[in-house]
Amino acid sequence: MTYPLLSGLRVLEIGSMISAPYCGKLLADAGASVVKVEPPGAGEEARRYGPWPDDVPHPERSGLYLYLNSNKAGITANLETPTGRSIMRRLAAKSDAVVHNVPPADMERLGLDYDALSAEHPGLVMASISPWGLSGPWRDYKAYDINLAAAGGICEGLGEADREPLTFGTPEVGYFAGMAAASSIVMALLGRDTHGGQHIDIAEAETMAGLYNGPEALMAVYEWRVTRRTGHHALDFPYPNCILRCKDGHIFVGSPEGRQWRRLLEIMGNPEWSQEQRFRNRTAMNNLYADEVDGYVEAWLADYTKAELLEIALENRIPLAPVRTYEEVRSDPSLEDLFVVIERDDTGPVAYPGAPYRLPEAEASAPKPAPTLGQHNRAVLCDELGYTGADLVKLYQIGII
């Protein structure tokens, strides 16, 4: 759903893949008018990432693109040309905020960096999302999702001890950078009367190494506990705290509170093994005998489906949680109003996740589909910047839009 919290706010996004586009999406779903700029011809990279309906690739049907860019207007501009850059500068001058994840060095080369844009528009709020930030020895280093996860502390503890460390199954880091940028932009606008415009420096690696994993690093300071890859178990928690097999898949089984574990054992019929002396201390049980106990618990779980175990969890107030497939996530009735159907001519109706917060007091409206490449060139360039229809034709012919 779309809410009118930021209506009237104008945002220019020069974004590709996830980080800056997710920032733009958060702002657009909260009611801001977001104009997204893409290179003419191929558009931004997410158009080539997929997935596609029936596995037939097409730049207008890439799922990642369609999801992250709904509710935005889309234009094209070739930033390698003086006219393309001039269009950008003029649009920035009419915007409250700009967000981009173009490498900072390229923005400088193009004359589209904060110093250049704010000279003409001192009240501008601009968020620059980059892998490592605008300063420091790694400022010009490259990174893709796995590099940021590796340096940010995601990989060190994920996987088996004798195999390579793992990262997220799909790209995730960009969402955290997008969230940081979107909140920073709104906060900067809240304080614009006293502080004026600002340049916001968001480093993707630091969204992982800082807020996400910062507290974890401190565990190392105080306990010198080394995070180890211990498969589906984690050291130093009371057993159970792991994903186990059940009849039709996998389920997370936890019981941080003693009464939860006692209740779970009751449901299992207080099996003999659970009375053994060596299982008195659940942390020791986890650290020393987890594999053995997994076998006992899985023997019981094997008779139950994920859905049945979820019922048992709800009835008995114990933390069991099915490892759901994406299909199961989509069919969860409790998430029914999270998914919003958007129809585009070239894809038909598709359900996309909407804003993850609910505002029962606000007026919600249906989201608009993601733009086709250059769909709003006329609306933005003619109606707002004063180009004529003939100009538009010429700009297209010479490869600027």
């Binding site: 009237g8 997220f168 996998h250 490892v323 009735p333």
Partner: protein, 413 residues
Amino acid sequence: MTTTENDMRTNPGVLSGYRVLDFGWVLAGALPGMVLADMGAEVIKVETRQRLDYMRMGRPIVGDQPDPEQNPMFHNVNRGKLSVTLNIAEPEAVELAKGLASRCDVVIENFSPGVMDRLGLGYEALRGVKPDIIMASISSTGQEGPLRDLRAYAPSIGSLSGLDSTMGYEGGGPLGLKHAFGDICGALHAVFAISSALFHRNRTGQGQYIDVSMLRATVVTQGVGLMEQALTGRSLQPRGNHDPTMAPYGNYPCAGEDKWVSIAVKSEEEWESLVRAMASPAWAADDRFTSQFRRQRHRRELDALLSRWTAQKDAEAVTELLQSHGVAAAPVLGAEERLFHPHFMERGLYSDTEHPALGAEPVFNLMWNLSKSPSRVRRHAPLLGEHNREVLCGHLGLSEERLAELEERRVVY
């Protein structure tokens, strides 16, 4: 003048002037207030000795036994806040809390759904004392719906959201993500909704109730997996270190005990740069690796050969060599390595701070670097009830005698 006032005057944050009443606890509930405090808001944490914030007594334990004033995790996620102890099981304490809410812009809470209503501190009650109040409730699975009363912790959210379903080695089972991904996602989306609601209130005078669930906040970050399912009908399975557009893409072994470097190559240009950086080994010219298409197809053989090249080298050295050739690489950093990494240190990822009970301690920084009003740690995490007098006498006008009497009767407790 208190330290807080002093700090705010010398470096007012961008949210300076906004006041937040923060019932949030543990992690997901405490983080939004921490973020708002780092950005300059006055955040009043409401807590009680009757039922301590778990994080005050959790790990890591410094000293021989848990001490509510000595928990570094608590200090990290509650720095910058003021603390008022109100035993809100007592009706008088509820009235005090409402009095504070009437002087605040925002209220945050993450009790089990329904608890605030039962206490008489629900949105309707608070709107009664402050018509344009913005209230954010953070929960595991939402304030309504069939999963509302599920006992769910951070790993539960990883499982329910689909996040865990792709985390694991190819062909193996899901391993589970051992981080509080859902707590952090929920907290950050709450911060965004709160900021946007303030923006809206400033323009329209309308308040807002915000219902953020960790589950929904995590589901929306599953763009690739959800869209794959919607458009192709397939649900992704664990697939190791894999990206459909890149090869090589993975963590490769390096010299030393359990050292690894991540390397990711997308374009032909990046591949050529990688080959040059490796001094053009013969295998790189093999037919199997001459195009991106072929490298994808033979990525396991490619991983094995690349691992042989990285295996005797230092992870930082590989990173510098590859980056100097324009190839994305970074070491798999452990906790201490992140604390002392030259790049993060120069950027100020951690600060050394002084806590009255624990002494010198490092805290991580938010790193929302606004050029004129960056996020910063503004004061140490509060001692239990450290600001009872400042807040209850200052904001609510209670007399010293009245405060002493309320403390005596464990209303302020």
